[in-house]
Symmetry: C2
Subunit: 199 residues, 2 copies
């Protein structure tokens, strides 16, 4: 497997949501590398409660886009509509059929509901995609249509879907980069809640 | 910030649980790099529902180890006791006071209970530590003593703890490496549940 040697910290520092994709195909080899990375993630008791459903079929992706869009429209409020991330959300749903690959991440319903054994794998997946130059966005809105999604893909009762991840090379104008975040000292304490590093 | 240029895929492929640590100190700069990496993770609506409590105080770590050990003893069954990971779990609790740093990861209780906005940050934290040569292990057992933990550290009602992560350089005999996993083709489907890549 050829793997470019992007540094860990470059990947972590520049991995952010990409919601517009080029139509450039994504190879099976790339998807394999990404999923292999996902399954290296930690998980409770090495139960590996995950299953990855790789979707390339255009009609299946169109349906996923439709469910996503309906859930998105129900979730946003009127004052959010003019904002860029929310326009991008609508585009994401509308363009899902043209997105090269969509991965549905499933976990055993018997597994921890806290996500401690599945979202580390999701993050490995997103970072590995970034490492290959592929954009992704972590979405969960489709779970509003969980029963429809499960029926469409034949997902058995003992699994649930927890994330839907569109994957593709970033469209022109989209680029990787540092996400906007509050400074670390606002979200970290030392020894006791609210205490700064040097107090 | 000096950062070694470990490749993304080397980090992902060799990050696994380390439960025995050397007493070599872990610098504030390393903890800063690790937490900066954590807060780059995706999260719903950029709400950044996280807070990281960095614990170096010996008595605080001893208490965390005690809670961990009690929860661990309650969780394991007799047939699990002879197995290596379970002996290591006991060691982890018993040695917590000697572990250089323990990070308690907290999230807002108003945030998604699925973990979609917190465990990606946890995985960035684990990978960044790996990138600096630091071992970690993702644990959640202390949550059995959530009210005691919150009272001890003064964690406010609107936050809960979701993970406890001991951090230190691996002890002699511990090493990074590929974790044991089922093969990818057992945990991936293509287009529909249970369908192989080339079907």
């Amino acid at each position: 497997m050829t793997q470019p040697d992007i540094s860990l910290f470059e990947a972590i520092n520049t991995q952010r949501a990409i919601r517009h994709f080029s139509t450039e195909p994504v190879s099976d080899e790339s998807i394999g590398t990404i999923l292999q990375s996902a399954i290296h993630a930690p998980n409770g008791g090495n139960t590996q409660p995950w299953h990855f459903l790789v979707v390339r079929d255009r009609e299946a992706k169109r349906r996923l886009g439709e469910w996503y869009l309906k859930a998105w429209q129900a979730a946003v409020t009127d004052d959010m509509r003019p904002m860029q991330p929310y326009r991008s959300g609508a585009d994401l749903g509308n363009n899902m059929a043209d997105t090269p690959v969509v991965v549905l991440v499933c976990q055993r319903t018997s597994s921890s509901p806290t996500g401690s054994s599945i979202f580390p794998a999701v993050q490995n997946l997103l970072l590995a995609a970034r490492g290959l130059g592929l954009g992704t966005v972590l979405t969960t809105l489709h779970t509003a249509y969980e029963s429809e999604v499960k029926a469409y893909f034949g997902i058995p009762d003992e699994f649930e879907t927890v994330a839907m991840i569109p994957i593709g090379y970033p469209a022109q104008g989209e680029r990787f980069g540092r996400p906007r975040r509050r400074p670390l000292d606002e979200v970290a304490s030392y020894e006791a809640w609210g205490r700064g590093k040097d107090e």
